[in-house]
């Protein structure tokens, strides 16, 4: 199966070289490497060989998580599988993409697969926990029938590293345009509603984690609140999984206590910041327009809306 790999970039920073090295080491042939750059000024484009990849350059203000990826997939659709990677995700092993292709080849019901995210080397306690909790060692195939059991977590996935079967991708209309975030969760939801399955592949690994400050957590969860308000349909179809959230908080506190008790306050504060951000995001329509952009991590979204 032919694979096109898409990576959106904007000032990818020092980690970018490692990301490209990880791509270069892949043992499965990549038909096209498509870079969609939103106006990097830090030399990101200097590290890529324009002859060996397809470069799409867009204005920073036009970047849209779903829309930009969709545009790239439509422009370079000459593959059977579209793989998406983010600029700060390092492919952990040479077989990362091969594992994905193999899964899609072997199971014709799979519409999409996503990989395991390990913390970056030297990641801090909280970001390490986030990855270990959300990306366990066991692989899993999920379908609409699992919604009763896992609720919204059924369609949990990430475009930090995910692969889509082209036919399934276009059958559901590709990524939604104009969503503040969560284009991956939305397309996964549509696929499952259309009868496709999705798989979490723990053997396909990347290093990808974030040490968010409380401010960044606040802004990120503000965006998640906005996402929630604007995409009620996924909750209506996949329900909820409240107990998982409590489990996460408990697990985070336990993990933090074991590895660095001094971070317990930070852990709780980060949770407090998330909650406040999320509540405000849920009520974003009642906020003055000028403040919505201020509270958001996705500034470009508000310039468009």
């Amino acid at each position: 199966m032919k694979v096109n790999l898409f990576i959106p970039t904007l000032n990818a920073g020092p980690i970018w070289k490692e990301v490209l090295d990880g791509v270069a080491k892949q043992n499965y042939p990549i038909s096209r490497l498509v870079i969609i750059d939103s106006g990097s000024t830090d030399g990101t484009l200097d590290l890529i060989n324009e002859k060996a990849c397809d470069l799409i350059q867009i204005d920073k203000k036009d970047f849209d998580h779903g829309g930009t990826r969709q545009m790239a997939a439509e422009r370079y659709s000459d593959a059977d599988i579209f793989v998406f990677l983010t600029q700060d995700a390092i492919l952990a092993k040479p077989n990362a993409i091969e594992v994905m292709v193999q899964a899609i080849e072997e199971n014709s019901e799979l519409g999409m697969v996503y990989g395991r995210q390990l913390p970056h080397k030297n990641a801090k306690v909280l970001e390490t926990h986030a990855r270990l909790f959300n990306y366990p060692a066991e692989s899993k195939v999920k379908s609409l029938e699992d919604a009763d059991r896992y609720g919204i977590k059924t369609i949990s996935c990430s475009n930090s590293f995910a692969a889509y079967r082209k036919t399934a991708f276009f059958e559901v209309g590709g990524f939604p345009v104009g969503s503040i975030l969560g284009e991956d969760v939305l397309i996964a939801g549509k696929m499952l509603l259309n009868g496709w399955k999705m798989a979490y592949l723990s053997a396909s690994k990347i290093h990808h984690s974030h040490d968010y400050s409380a401010t960044e957590e606040f802004k990120r969860y503000f965006d998640i609140g906005v996402f929630h308000v604007n995409n009620q349909w996924i909750f209506e179809n996949f329900g909820r999984a409240e107990s998982e959230g409590f489990k996460y908080l408990k697990s985070e506190l336990t993990y933090t206590f074991k590895h660095n008790p001094l971070l317990i306050p930070k852990c709780l504060i980060a949770t407090g910041a998330k909650l406040v951000g999320y509540k405000l995001g849920l009520n974003y329509l009642s906020l003055p327009v000028g403040l919505r952009k201020s509270f958001s991590m996705t500034k470009a979204y508000w310039s468009r809306t």
Partner: protein, 565 residues
């Protein structure tokens, strides 16, 4: 709330993360025990050279460790990647040069710890300094944790406990900084000596720390971007707990001041003061869940400052959410020449003050004693909704182009609308216990008073002067002493579908009275006046349209007014 909490907890793990990646590049290395390497603890001699040699010879990732004891030094110079960890106390030796802080010379000849153009290191120590505790210059990725820095509390012009200049990525955690400078002596002046001084820096996090009893501000931030001050106790400092000042770089943006206790500081809890002559600066600032108490006093005497939640001058895009303020000297929130400000779900035992220019203010679900617009206020938009308020003070001559007062409760509502602009007062509960009208409209154009419950116990509920025009009083429940609505010939007044009930005992007991009506419209109102008294009284000549009025108790007298029914 429970629903949103549940969804929030679920989303803690559901959605993908896309953001800025911050690598922690601190490497594991050797632990270098200074005693084993020739440094003398508890000696009276200067140990600077011996310690510095160890630091200079260490490799990146190593930790220079100070066992229990006291180490006397002049200044230790940090090196990239070399961590300091002390169980003992690092103090200034007598030979360290002393200095005095001045605006021209803000750093001393001998800070206790000096980092210049260093990066990727951590510091954890107890230190006593007669100058700065830690001075970081042009440095990056520095972590100060489990540290206690004690200054010289006898010094009149002290240096800060920690100072950063042109730094980025500095974290100060679980740290105590105190006694840098003499306690403030006067209510109208202060002496230098800041706990933490952040100058022209970015990406600074100060959390889980205690900053107290310093001469000036607890934390001072100047010309800096992306600063968070979270979960600290900042108390008994000689100026504000947190002050943000502005240079001309334009970089001041992205601030979070949250979950702090800000107590007994001599000035404001949080002072954000942009004295630039340019228009209000967008600073993207969130001020959340702080608790403040007793700020703005020196030895029990009031200083000119002491706002409880924040003083905001010439800034925009600020959110104040769920803060609590008690017994502070000045208003809970002071807003001067600001752009877009939102205060939501705050609680304070005193008022909000607004003055000069204002672009847009939203006050939602707060509890304040009052909202006071000061003379010279020129606001584009003010929206008050779902607040619990004592009163609303509106002096003569202010301008509010769009004034929306919706769903609030006022325990002592007595409003004087003598302003330019559009006013909409709807669905409020207004109780007036004063002898002035609950609502006096002297100057207003296109004002709506709708769906309110107004109880005015000792004065008229609504009085309209001749200079008011196009006022619409619709569907209110009014229970009033004297005259419920008194119209002094305001033009195009419309009074519709109200229930007007008199409280007996006043000199006048009308539910509605007009003098020389100027195109008055009355329709569908119910009048519950006093038995055998005139409920509806028209005085003088004029024109009015009167339809479907229901006089339940009392009588109507239209006099010489030309009635169109």
């Amino acid at each position: 709330m429970i629903k949103s909490l549940s969804l929030f907890l679920m989303l803690l793990l559901t959605l993908p993360v896309i953001g800025i990646c911050q690598a922690d590049s601190l490497k594991e290395g050797k632990r270098l025990n200074v005693i084993e390497l020739g440094v003398s603890a508890n000696a009276t001699s200067d140990q600077t050279e011996a310690i510095q040699q160890i630091i200079d010879k260490a490799s990146e990732g190593d930790t220079v460790f100070f066992p229990e004891g006291q180490y006397l030094i002049r200044t230790i110079l940090l090196r990239t990647g070399i961590n300091l960890l002390s169980q003992g106390t690092i103090n200034h030796h007598d030979s360290a040069k002393d200095g005095e802080f001045s605006i021209e010379k803000q750093n001393s000849p001998n800070p206790l710890i000096l980092g210049q153009e260093v990066s990727n290191l951590s510091i954890s120590l107890n230190g006593e300094s007669k100058n700065e505790g830690i001075y970081l210059l042009k440095s990056q990725n520095i972590r100060i944790y489990n540290t206690e820095l004690t200054g010289d509390s006898t010094k009149l012009r002290a240096y800060p406990g920690i100072m950063t200049f042109q730094c980025s990525g500095v974290e100060i955690a679980n740290t105590r900084i105190h006694h840098f400078g003499m306690p403030r002596r006067e209510t109208d002046s202060y002496q230098p000596g800041t706990g933490i001084r952040i100058l022209s820096s970015n990406t600074i996090s100060i959390h889980d720390s205690e900053v107290y009893k310093n001469g000036e501000n607890g934390i001072f931030i100047y010309g800096s971007r992306k600063v968070e001050v979270i979960n600290n106790v900042i108390r008994h400092n000689g100026m504000s707990a947190i002050q943000v000042a502005f240079g001309d770089s334009g970089k001041e943006k992205d601030y979070t001041f949250s979950y702090n206790i800000l107590e007994e500081n001599a000035s404001d809890a949080i002072d954000i003061n942009n004295r630039s002559k340019e228009k209000a600066k967008d600073i993207e600032c969130i001020i959340i869940e702080n608790i403040t108490c007793g700020n703005g006093f020196v030895k029990g005497e009031s200083t000119p400052d002491g706002s409880g939640i924040a003083t905001l001058i010439n800034v925009s895009n600020v959110l104040l959410y769920n803060n609590e303020a008690y017994r502070n000297n000045r208003p809970a929130i002071y807003i001067e020449s600001c752009g877009l400000i939102m205060a939501k779900e705050n609680w304070a035992d005193n008022q909000v003050e607004i003055t000069l220019d204002l672009e847009e203010l939203h006050l939602v679900k707060n509890r304040f004693s009052s909202i006071n617009l000061i003379a010279n206020t020129k606001a584009q938009k003010i929206k008050l909704s779902y607040n619990e308020l004592g009163s609303l003070s509106l002096p003569n001559g202010i301008q509010v182009n769009e004034f929306l007062v919706e769903n609030n409760s006022f325990s002592n509502g007595s409003f004087n609308f003598n302003l330019k602009g559009q006013m909409h007062l709807s669905a409020n509960k207004i109780k007036n216990t004063s002898t002035n009208p609950a609502i006096l409209i002297v100057n207003a154009d296109d004002a709506y008073i709708e769906d309110n419950e107004i109880e005015s116990l000792h004065a008229s509920a609504i009085v309209l002067r001749k200079t008011a025009k196009n006022v619409h009083i619709i569907h209110n429940q009014i229970h009033s002493f004297n005259t419920a609505i008194f119209d002094d010939s305001s033009k195009n007044l419309a009074v519709k579908d109200n229930t007007l009930k008199s409280i007996a005992g006043g000199e006048e007991n009308q539910t509605f009275r007009t003098h020389f009506p100027d195109h008055l419209t009355m329709e569908g109102n119910e009048h519950i006046g006093i038995a055998n008294s005139t409920a509806v009284l028209f005085v003088g000549k004029g024109k009015a349209s009167v339809k479907n009025e229901k006089i339940t108790l009392g009588e109507a007298y239209y006099g010489e007014v030309e009635i169109d029914d």
